[in-house]
């Protein structure tokens, strides 16, 4: 099967004044249609940095990232923006809803960016709100809703343009246990509908829902694929065992 996203020998170094801070050094990564991949790694290992690179919000210092045949490093700001619009949906840890727009409007604002008719966008937004379970909150503002509701709205927003890939950076980081589980169930649901997903998380329990774990350390990736036909409790034990070998 052809990869949806290919990263080859990607390097990223931040400049802090004159000091160079190498974060990612020569990383390879492939993502296939319909996959659900979790990115793990200690704090500061560069997970967020990787996600921004994959989503075209940032440019690598070296190496190549291809999405659907297009090379990100060869695109200018505008082309990358158009690429994001068509292919990528972001979910952030801090929800990042526009505070002065209602939940529905928060979703519409992203949907109206495309060329789809506004009526179709509105219909899809309603469907997605129903899917994530916030259809009754359409006219509320973010400050009038709970964290879990806000994050579900953010997921709906990420899905509005029917992206090829959803990139989620610790989507459950700010949520409590119950809300966190609802969110992960939601991710399972959309994955079940064929959505390709990459999620950064710190929780092994959450990671077990994926098909594959990419572990970041020292600027590169080691991968762990869950063997088929293992019950969920067994999956967590396997993963923990694999992680502890790598100093988790």
């Amino acid at each position: 099967m052809e990869a949806l996203l290919t990263a080859v020998n990607v390097k990223k170094t931040y400049l802090e004044g004159t000091r160079r801070v190498p974060v990612i050094g020569g990383l390879d990564f492939n993502l296939y249609p319909g996959e659900y991949v979790v990115v793990m790694g200690s704090s500061g290992s560069g997970k967020s940095s990787l996600l921004y690179l994959l989503g075209g919000m940032d440019t690598p210092c070296a190496g190549s990232i291809q999405i659907g045949g297009g090379k990100l490093e060869a695109m200018d700001e505008t082309k990358r923006a158009l690429m994001r619009r068509e292919r990528i949906g972001f979910v952030f840890q801090d929800f990042n809803l526009v505070p002065h727009l209602s939940l529905l409007e928060n979703i519409l604002v992203a949907g109206y960016l495309g060329t789809t008719s506004r009526r179709a966008v509105r219909e899809r937004a309603r469907e997605l709100m129903a899917l994530v379970g916030i259809e009754h909150l359409a006219d509320r503002r973010p400050a009038q809703t709970s964290g879990g509701e806000q994050q579900r709205c953010a997921v709906a927003r990420a899905l509005i343009n029917d992206p090829d890939i959803v990139l989620a950076d610790e989507p459950t980081g700010n949520l409590n246990g119950a809300n966190s589980r609802t969110m992960l169930d939601l991710f399972d649901t959309i994955h079940g509908r064929g959505q390709t997903l990459v999620m950064v998380t710190h929780e092994p329990a959450a990671a077990c829902r994926a098909q594959r774990v990419a572990y970041m350390a020292d600027g590169s990736i080691e991968e762990f694929a869950f063997p088929d036909h293992v019950a969920s409790e067994g999956r967590e034990a396997l993963l923990l065992n694999w992680l502890s070998e790598r100093g988790w």
Binding site: A81, R84, N96, H100, L113, R141, N161
Partner: protein
């Protein structure tokens, strides 16, 4: 306190662009304010000093020795309690046609005065001279001219100025330039020049030597006007010459600088207003953007007063940098301007103290900024820690959501721009007002420029005849009779129409101008309407016993249509009926118009000798003029309407320059204000913009979100202020110009120019916002939360 300074400085460093914008605005403001204050403060002193130094008499009378009893007046003045001393009568002669310098004619009227001893009164200060350095007066064929005339005309020592006179030209060699305080400006005409004692009697026919100058020194300069009036009263109300008082001289001397000072002062206040708007807006949005941070400070134990002080400091630091710089620049500019001002008075070192203007401008700007910052930062003190930390934004106001712009069919940038405005309505309001100031200044500039540029076409409203040529018939030696000339014109196909007129001096009971009770009037032999002249009310006189008054004469004397107007003219008292009131911008709106029949009743030989001619279509007035001169020679004196335009060119350039300077200053401030506003917006909305960027909005459209905002602001300002100013400007001008007689100010609205302000300003605002909006391309998800 340390914590506050630390926080404020940190904030300053982060927002370089915005700080620079504010610093520029405050710099311009203190520069303009200082210069205006310095000019106004130091405007009068140099002339006063020169007058003190030279013992210049506060009242200078120029009398007609034939009709005024000069010795009696002299005696009367000596008795007056306000008078300190009266100088001896000095013979003078006023030139009436063009002088020649270096074979080039120039049209400045000279008043030649014999340099007799004057008991120490009205001394002149020699600036440069030729020949014997001890000589007390010029030699027989020499002249001392004012330093100002020499510099403005480029006349050198040793040059010859030729004065026309009956018996052939009279050449005079310039042997010195002098300071003669009252005559050190273009704004007073004629300009006095000094010749040898006895030179006038030697060179001119006795019949021309009827005028004398009398210097009257007073204990108090301010009494000059009163003494002049008393004198007129005592001598039956008829002074035939004119009088110059210290007040008038002062006004004339500083006129240009006073206009400039007032314009600068207005500009300074407008700049200050915009600076206040910038500060208030910046504080408001800093508080908005720093919401979570403020909450965090509060949680850390900052008191409301401390939070308030952070912002106070943050915005007074740029002022502390900008104000001294602005004052320094203002000092340089003022020094240059004042050197120009006093140069004509022969003073090289204008003694002025920058202390008072500096204090006034500096304290003014600083306190204004501090007050604006403090006032708008009170909001920061009131931020509640809990919701601030939790939501990072002010809690939504109840119901505010309903009222805001719906996400309907608008393009996204427009919707978001409009939402941004609704988000911070106070700052949006400030932006609208700031832009409105620019709209107002531009509308005034465009239409006032048009008014003065087209003054030539609009002459009747200013009280001038709209003719193409003005011909005065009747030279002293060869002359053509009026009626013959008129008969010829009537047969001439090149003439479309004409009217004859003449000028007279008369006194109207209860009406007095600055130069005395005499007012210049115009007598028409025909309909003034021929050359476009109109009345505001009633009609023009059509026969004997009728008079039309200029509006200020009618108002001062309290005359209404139909009432008799006591008029003293050519030694006779008349009572013509007031039939019309007209407006004129000449002579402060004083004057009268009569019909020739009235004059002929008084002086049967009187003739109107000025012909106002309108040429037929396709006739070149200049060629017609040449032809008239070829035919009639010295018997006619021909002026072209285009000469007037030329004479006015200087005035028009000056006014246009001042208006352009004012507009440029305002546009600069506007640019700064838009730049600042856009940066603030970028900061306020960085989360929204970051999200949209992640969702795939292109950089161009992201920038449009910010640009749209200023477009809306500009459009609202235009819609609100443009019609308002267009309505208010004529009313305002009528009020202001009523003092000089233009109750219905001949404002020319330039429709094209005014309409062009709309796209012009929109394009300007677009460009001004587009540049700072580039910041959106650098947004990154890591910036999405302000902190």
């Amino acid at each position: 306190m340390k914590a506050i300074v630390f926080t404020a400085l940190g904030d300053l460093r982060r927002r370089v662009g915005q700080t620079a914008a504010l610093t520029c605005a405050l710099l311009l403001s203190s520069l303009a304010l200082f210069t205006a204050a310095a000019l106004l403060q130091s405007l009068d002193a140099p002339l006063d000093d020169a007058c003190d130094r030279l013992n210049t008499s506060a009242l200078q009378l120029f009398l007609d020795g034939h009709s005024d009893d000069v010795p009696a007046m002299q005696a009367w003045l000596q008795q007056h309690e306000a008078v300190a001393a009266v100088g001896p009568p000095i013979p003078i002669y006023q030139t009436s046609s063009d002088l020649v310098h270096n074979e080039e004619a120039f049209s400045r009227a000279l008043m030649l005065a014999e340099n007799l001893p004057r008991k120490g009164l009205d001394a002149v200060q020699i600036v440069t001279r030729l020949g014997d350095p001890t000589a007390a007066a010029p030699g027989l064929d020499e002249v001392w001219i004012s330093h100002q005339l020499a510099t403005s005309r480029g006349i050198q020592l040793g040059d010859t100025i030729t004065v026309p006179r009956e018996g052939g030209p009279w050449p005079l060699r310039v042997s010195a330039t002098v300071v003669d305080p009252y005559f050190s400006t273009d704004n007073i005409s004629p300009t006095r020049a000094w010749v040898a004692p006895g030179a006038l009697a030697h060179a001119l026919p006795l019949a021309d030597l009827n005028e004398v100058f009398l210097g009257v020194s007073l204990h108090q300069r301010a009494d000059a006007g009163q003494v002049r009036d008393d004198l007129e009263q005592a001598f039956g109300g008829g002074l035939s010459g004119f009088a110059l008082t210290h007040e008038i001289a002062k006004m004339a001397h500083g006129m240009f600088f006073r206009i400039m000072a007032v314009a600068l002062g207005v500009a300074a206040l407008l700049t200050l207003l915009v600076s206040i708007l910038i500060v208030a807006g910046a504080v408001g949005s800093a508080v908005f953007a720093d919401y979570r941070l403020i909450g965090t400070f509060k949680a850390m134990g900052y008191t409301p007063a401390m939070v308030n002080r952070i912002y106070l400091l943050r915005f007074t630091i740029p002022a502390l940098i900008a104000v001294p710089l602005g004052l320094l620049l203002g000092w340089l500019v003022s020094a240059q301007l004042l050197a120009l001002l006093v140069g004509s008075l022969g003073v090289t070192d204008p003694q002025w103290s920058p202390l008072l203007p500096a204090l006034a401008a500096g304290a003014g700007v600083l306190t204004t900024v501090a007050a604006a910052a403090w006032w708008s930062a009170r909001k920061a003190g009131r931020v509640e820690a809990m919701p601030a930390i939790r939501f990072g934004a002010p809690p939504p106001r109840a119901g505010s959501h309903r009222r805001s712009v719906p996400l309907g069919r608008l393009p996204l940038p427009a919707f978001l721009g409009a939402r941004g405005l609704a988000l911070n309505p106070v700052r949006a309001g400030f932006a609208v007002i700031g832009m409105g100031v620019a709209v107002a200044v531009l509308v005034c500039a465009v239409n006032l420029t048009a008014t003065f540029e087209r003054l030539g076409e609009n002459r009747p409203m200013w009280g001038m005849a709209a003719s193409d040529l003005t011909v005065f018939v009747g030279g002293a030696r060869f002359s053509v009779r009026s009626e013959h000339f008129a008969a010829r014109l009537r047969q001439d196909a090149r003439v479309a129409d004409f009217v004859t007129s003449g000028t007279v001096q008369g006194e109207i009971e209860g009406v007095k101008g600055i130069a005395g009770a005499r007012t210049g009037g115009r007598v028409f032999d025909g309909a003034p309407e021929t050359v476009g002249l109109t009345v505001l009310e009633g009609r023009h006189p059509e026969g004997a016993g009728e008079i039309a008054l200029a509006i200020n004469s009618a108002l001062k004397g309290g005359y209404a249509l139909g009432e008799p107007v006591p008029l003293f003219i050519e030694g006779q008292h008349l009572k013509p009926k007031l039939v019309g009131i007209y407006q004129t911008g000449q002579n402060l709106g004083l004057g009268f118009r009569l019909h020739a029949a009235t004059m002929n009743a008084v002086l049967p030989m009187w003739q109107a000798r000025t012909f106002e001619i309108k040429t037929a279509a396709g006739v070149d007035p200049a060629a017609f003029k040449d032809d008239l001169i070829r035919t009639y020679g010295e018997a006619v004196d021909v002026g072209l309407a285009s000469d007037l335009t030329e004479q006015l060119a200087g005035l028009v350039t000056g006014i246009r320059g001042t208006l352009m300077l004012l507009s440029a200053l305002l546009l600069a401030i506007c640019l700064i204000s838009i730049y600042n506003d856009t940066l603030l917006c970028l900061r306020e909305q960085q989360q929204t913009l970051g999200i949209l960027k992640a969702a795939g909005m292109t950089p161009g459209r992201l920038r449009l979100v910010l640009v749209w905002r200023t477009q809306v602001v500009t459009l609202v300002s235009l819609v609100l202020f443009l019609p308002m100013v267009l309505v208010a400007l004529p009313l305002l001008l009528n009020q202001i110009a009523a003092g000089i007689g233009l109750v219905s100010f001949p404002l020319v609205i330039d429709p094209l120019g005014t309409v062009l302000i709309v796209p012009g300003l929109l394009a300007f605002a677009f460009a001004a916002a587009w540049w700072p909006a580039r910041g959106v391309t650098r947004l990154h998800p890591r910036h999405m939360l302000a902190y």
